[in-house]
Amino acid sequence: MSAAPETSATGLIEASFRGRLGPFALNADFITPAAGVTVLFGPSGCGKTTLLRCIAGLERLPGRLVVEGEVWQDEARFLPAHQRPVGYVFQEASLLAHLSVRRNLLFGFRRTKDEQRIDLDQVVGLLGLEPLLERGVARLSGGERQRVAIGRALLSQPRLLLMDEPLASLDRARKAEVLPYLERLNSDLAIPILYVTHDLAEAARLGDRQIALNEGQTGPVIDSRDGAGDAGLGARLAEVGPDRLFEDLCAGGAPPELAQLTLAALLAGLPPWRAPDQRA
């Protein structure tokens, strides 16, 4: 071990993973504030889920992961999944079939050693779960299941909430049912969220920031609310326009597809009044 001091700033999530898992090659590298919602988005098969699983400790690739100054993975260390204070919402709700809704919700709650900041009543209220509590999980609709899965993850007192396309397995009506709950999560609880989706509209609606992912490679962090004078991409876009920004991104090492995705997310997230003629 080197005697180097802890170089990571608190309040940040720093991830970098390189390697191959089956068909997925990952070359991911990003730093994002540990606050609000950071959306990882890209086409299916781009490695979003693999990246999220690496962060949860469900997969192991060479790399480094520091969350709010705490090293979860580096050359010397790999914290196993059950020792990481993450909540994970899978694409399919994946409720435990032998437990009632209430006992699914409390599964992680009972196993946390940290201070319990979020309690059952709070989660039940937030996600509208009161009428479901005593049911078996077989008698829930798709939207209800996903709400229980989100509540279960929240009750495990995560310091980082990982969500893997939680809406993708739902039809349009169920999506509309769950989406407002997700937005409330963001505003009511101070838990940073990493949210994976392939849906650009969802990324723009839920995310405070977006990171594009293509063929396992991450683009720069997009914050479309960057104002003039910020160093972020939003400010750059307003300054130089999309064509020039695209060239800049490519010059910075992003393959064209990745630069294009990044630009698309930036434009999609822009308030309409700020992007009059740039969408063409």
Binding site: A56, G57, L58, P80, A81, H82, Q83, V86, G87, Y88, F90, E92, S94, L96, A97, H98, F107, G108, R111, T112, V137, A138, R152, A153, S156
Partner: protein, 221 residues
């Protein structure tokens, strides 16, 4: 006759309990291990399905007999042989019924898949915790089937118990052997009663297995 029935039920009960304890870690390992040679162990476990019971009984007789090197450590504590004893019968029955316990439990563990364990891990459950709080309850139907099959299989076994038990009244004489001896002695009436009893029992076993299967099939989401 009551004594024979009691001895048979006692043998089946003891065998079932011990075998479930033994089969659980074995089935777990067979279900989850990535080792390439695990199916070799799997084949050894399954051997009693195709082996003639008399062959198994014959080797057990040698292994548990007074001249067996396997018995040497026990002879130091005063146990000369386990052949023709109740304990010997239990050992024989455990080996004979091993596949009937391991296979359903292994299948049940495999049917759980990877996801519930990932869920448990992201909810702070250590692997050991997840084994007890997720794997065992989700595999419950497999355990029920294993228990019923082991119990019934032990009740009905003949070749193995004849070879290593010898049919000593009160010690190793179980139902199936009693029936054989009754027929030999031309006591057809008594043989009839016991045979009919086993027939009804076997029917009840198969019916309950099918009902369990139907119920778990319906419960699976």
């Amino acid at each position: 006759m009551g004594e024979v029935i009691w001895l048979t039920v006692k043998l089946a009960g003891v065998t079932t309990i011990l075998l479930l304890i033994l089969a659980t870690p074995l089935a777990w390992w067979l279900a989850r291990s990535q080792a390439w040679w695990k199916e070799i162990i799997g084949a050894v476990v399954a051997l009693p399905i195709v082996l003639p019971p008399t062959v198994l009984g014959f080797y057990l007789l040698l292994a548990l007999g007074p001249d067996s090197p396997l018995m040497a450590p026990f002879q130091a504590i005063g146990i000369r042989t386990l052949a023709f004893t109740f304990e010997g019968l239990v050992i024989g029955s455990i080996i004979y019924s091993l596949p009937f316990a391991v296979q359903p439990i292994r299948n049940a563990f495999q049917a759980i898949g990877e996801r519930p364990f990932e869920v448990a891990a992201t909810l702070r459950a250590s692997p050991m915790d997840a084994f007890f709080s997720v794997a065992l309850p989700l595999a419950r139907p497999g355990f029920l089937v294993a228990a019923i099959l082991t119990f019934a299989h032990t009740i009905g076994e003949f070749g193995v118990v004849l070879m290593i038990g010898g049919g000593i009244p009160g010690e190793t004489e179980v139902l199936s052997i009693e029936i054989y001896q009754l027929v030999e002695a031309l006591e057809w009436n008594k043989a009839h009663q016991l045979a009919a009893l086993l027939l009804v029992f076997a029917f009840a076993v198969m019916l309950s297995l099918l009902l369990i299967e139907r119920r778990t099939g319906r419960l699976r989401p």
